[in-house]
Each structure stands twice: as C-alpha cells, then as structure tokens.
C-alpha cells in the first residue's frame, strides 16, 4: 500500500469533511462532501476493493448527493438560519464544541489502542478480496436474507418519502 497515496486521500477526506461542517452555504457543503466521498473511494481502491470504490461513487456521489443537491436547489435556501438556538442555553455552542473535541479524542484514542495489525501482502489474498463474483455470491447466499430485507426497506422508504413530501390538499 502506497503511503503517499494513503496520506493524500486521508488528508483530502478529513479536510473536505471539516469544511462540510464549517460551510454556511449548503450547496458548498454538498459539493465538498462529494470531494470527501471521492477520496474515500480512492482509499477503497488502495484496500483492493474496486467494486466498493465504484459503488461509493455511483450510490453516494451519483445518487444520494444529487438528491441533496436537488432539495437544496428546490428549497433555494441559500444561507443558513442565523437564529441562535435557545434550547441549549447561552453556552450551548461552547458545550457542543467541547463535547465534539472530547468525542474525537476518545474515538481516536480507543481505535489507536488496537495492536499493530498490518495487512497481508499476499497478492492472492488481494485478488480474492477484489473479486466482484465473490461479493455477488456472498450477497445472494450467506446474506440473502439481509438482501431481501433491504429491498423491503427501500420499498417502504420510497412509499414513505412520497407520502411525506406530498403536498396536502
């Protein structure tokens, strides 16, 4: 695994994600998130998962983000509501910042305690991981039940989205 590419993609993903939550303009947030997804897709390629990398672009960047973009355009809400939240009290934002930083420190600390675990450099193992046929077989045999449930979930979500977003008469 190429360290230069890893750190490049990792840096792009982190910086873009930070900018997503730091932007006032929802349109820019959506675009930056797409950049972050692109970087993650690059990381998946590094992990010998080309199928997941491509699905990442097709599903996340190509479908879900277009949906977001569509809604942002439809609502035409250029800038965020500047109203100060009353529900959290006067120090709400400060508490939120402190809590976020604490969480970041905690998660990183917990995950960095995993003992050194290097990837196998066996090219046969990498080939097995990147095989689309094996992923397909897995989905339709071992995980067939989950697959069926997901299809029902999508149907429910579709009906639900139509009902919720419909104009009331």
């Amino acid at each position: 695994m190429n360290p230069v590419l890893f750190y490049l993609f990792a840096a792009v993903a982190v910086i873009a994600s930070l900018l997503v939550i730091g932007q006032r303009n929802p349109m820019h947030s959506v675009m930056l998130l797409i950049v972050s997804f692109g970087a993650l897709s690059g990381l998946y390629v590094l992990l010998d998962a080309p199928f997941t990398a491509v699905t990442q672009i097709i599903v996340y960047a190509g479908a879900i983000m277009v949906l977001f973009l569509f809604v942002v355009m439809l609502l035409n809400a250029h800038t965020e509501d500047e109203a100060v939240p009353q529900t959290l009290g006067p120090h709400g934002m400060k508490i939120a910042v402190v809590l976020s930083l604490a969480l970041a420190a905690e998660v990183v600390w917990a995950l960095s305690r995993v003992g050194a675990a290097s990837f196998s450099t066996d090219s046969a193992a990498a080939g097995a991981i990147s095989s689309v046929a094996r992923i397909g077989t897995g989905i339709f045999t071992t995980h067939a039940f989950a697959f069926e449930v997901t299809s029902v979930l999508i149907l429910v979500a579709m009906v639900g989205a139509v009902v919720i977003a419909r104009k009331e008469h």
Partner: protein, 345 residues
C-alpha cells in the same frame, strides 16, 4: 542516465493517453461539423462550406471565435461553482472514455517489448466505472444551473438532474443484462465474448441477443447526454438556453465540448457492449480500431439524424416515458436475460 521509470511501455502509455484525449476533442470538433452538415442536408441547405474543404475547419474557426470572446460572470452568480461547473462537465466526459477499449494489443510493429493494449486503462469493473463517471457528469449541469442564479438556468438544471437520474436506472439495467450474458464487468472481455459468427455469416454481437437491451441503452444514452428528442435542459423555446444561458466565451464552449464528447462516449460504449467493439471481418487484427471507428461513427450519425428529425417531447411525457415504459421494459429484459442465461447454462 535516465530514471528507471522512463521505459518504452510507460512512454507508450503516456502517448496513448495524450492521443486518446486529443482524438476525443478532435472527434467532437468533427461531430460539430457533421451535425451542421447533416442538419443542412436534412433541411435542404448546403451548410458550412467556406472554411477549409467542405467547411471542415469551421469548428476550429468557431473555437477561435469563442476563445477571443469576453468571459462574463453574472454579478449575483456563485463565482466558484460557476467557474467549476463547465470544468466538471468536461472532466467527467473525457474521463469516461478512459476504460473503453478500441483495439487489440499491438507492439507497434515490434517497437515495444510488451504488447500495448489499445485503451487507456483496463480495470476489472470497467462497466461500473463508466456508469459512475457518467453519473458525475450531472453535477456540471446542475451546478451551472444553480450557480448562475437565473431562473432559466435553474429550471434547466432541475429538469436535467431529474431527467438524468430517471434515465440512469434504465441505462444501468440495460448494462446489467449485457454483463450477465458476458459474465464479466471488463469491457475488453465483453468485446472478446462477441467474437465469432453464427452460421458463418451473422456476427455474434450482443445486438442480436439483446435487441431490446440495445434500444433501451441507446434511448437512455440519448436522454443522459441531453440530446434531442430529450434535450430539455436546453429547450431553447422555453428556457432560452437552459443551464448554460449565462455562460459565454470558452466556458460555454466547454459545455458544448462536453456534450459532444459524451455522445462519442455513449456511442463507443454501445459499440463495445452491443456491436462487437473492434471486431470485424476483412481487416487484419491490428487495424481493428477502424471497425471500432466505423461503428461508433454510424451510431453518432444516428444521433444527429434523430435530432433533426424528431420533435422534442413535453417534459411530463419524458418523465412518463422514462418511468412507466422504459423502466418496466428494462426490468423485464433483465429478468428474461437472467432466465435465459440460467436455462442455457
């Protein structure tokens, strides 16, 4: 002493990438000329005939004119995204072609030690890569529509995103049927699966096994590239010029370029998936790319022919067609293909 990474194979690859990208741009210039010529003959005119032989250099004159024009950015536009939109469009259009194989391996008459494959890159999920990059192309149009801050552009962008998402599904399902038959996601293997003949006369193209799939793919492809009769994003009678109303100079030119490169890519992919790619009789193997060119050109001609023959649909008709007719037919086609593949083993 040259660094080790400069070897004939790498150089050949770089040259290949350079050549393919330039050929794409040139082919779109040629397409502009062909479009105007064919349109002229359909309308009983002569068309461009002043610049160069039969007006062949007309597109270059147009490009130089565009380059010399003033670049205008509307005052209320989102400047960053406004500048970025045409770049995204062109980048997506040019990248999609990178996984399309257009010929067999060649050593350039023994010049290279390892044979060079005539394609920019061969990935084992090529079909999905094309699908992914095509779906990125929508951002250029949507962003152009939104960032212009003009109602015509916004409507064009909104229409286009809805249209492209709707037709992408049928497009993907048609692709899936071919992938199922070939048992591979690599375009090169899909093409190689189509070699040979039935009864020594009919080539084993997927066109004959998947006639419905081809129609679905091409219809959805026309809708994806926003061409007539599905050219709503730029329906000039109602939306001025749709998403690129506010664009001028070369940024307008870039949208134009992207549209034509997309057409070339869709035709090239259709050629690889259904028409046997570079395979064909009479020519030696290393000239296979001529067959590829010929087939792609025939599809491109069909594109132009359609534009100047068919009137534009109404927007609700387009949506109804996509969701109520094309999608169910695509699903049926997929199920029938799956059944056949299992039945025939």
């Amino acid at each position: 002493m040259m660094p080790a990474f400069i070897n004939p194979t790498i150089v050949a690859h770089l040259v290949l990438i350079f050549a393919v990208m330039n050929m794409l741009v040139l082919s779109s210039a040629f397409m502009v000329w062909m479009e105007r010529k064919v349109c002229a003959y359909i309308q009983d005119r002569v068309g461009p005939n002043r610049v160069g032989f039969e007006g062949l250099l007309q597109p270059f004159a147009d490009v130089f004119k565009l380059l010399l024009k003033e670049e205008l950015i509307p005052k209320s536009a989102d400047k960053l995204l406004f500048t970025l939109a045409p770049i995204i469009s062109v980048a997506a259009a040019l990248t999609a072609f990178s996984v399309v194989p257009f010929g067999t391996e060649t050593t350039l008459f023994g010049l290279l030690r390892e044979p060079l494959r005539l394609e920019v890159t061969d990935v084992n999920v090529a079909v999905l890569v094309i699908f992914a990059i095509t779906s990125m192309g929508v951002y250029g149009i949507v962003l152009a529509g939104w960032s212009s801050n003009s109602k015509y552009s916004l409507l064009g962008g909104l229409r286009s995103s809805a249209q492209m998402i709707s037709y992408e599904i049928s497009y993907g399902l048609a692709l899936a049927a071919v992938v199922m038959m070939a048992g591979s996601l690599s375009l090169r293997e899909i093409v190689l699966n189509q070699s040979g003949y039935w009864w020594h006369i009919i080539p084993r193209w997927y066109l004959f096994l998947q006639p419905l799939g081809f129609l679905i793919f091409f219809t959805a492809g026309v809708a994806e590239t926003n061409r007539a009769p599905f050219d709503f994003p730029e329906a000039e009678q109602e939306l001025v010029a749709g998403y690129h109303t506010e664009y001028s100079s070369m940024s307008f030119g870039l949208f134009f370029l992207a549209e034509y490169v997309n057409m070339v890519t869709v035709s090239a992919v259709a050629t690889s998936l259904y028409l046997g790619g570079w395979l064909g009789p009479f020519l030696p193997d290393w000239l296979g790319w001529m067959w590829f060119l010929l087939k792609t050109l025939a599809l491109l001609f069909f594109y132009v022919w359609m534009r100047w023959t068919l009137p534009r649909y109404r927007y609700d008709q387009l949506m109804e067609f996509g969701w109520k007719y094309l999608l169910p037919v695509a699903i049926l086609n997929l199920i029938a293909t799956a059944a056949l593949v299992i039945w025939l083993g």
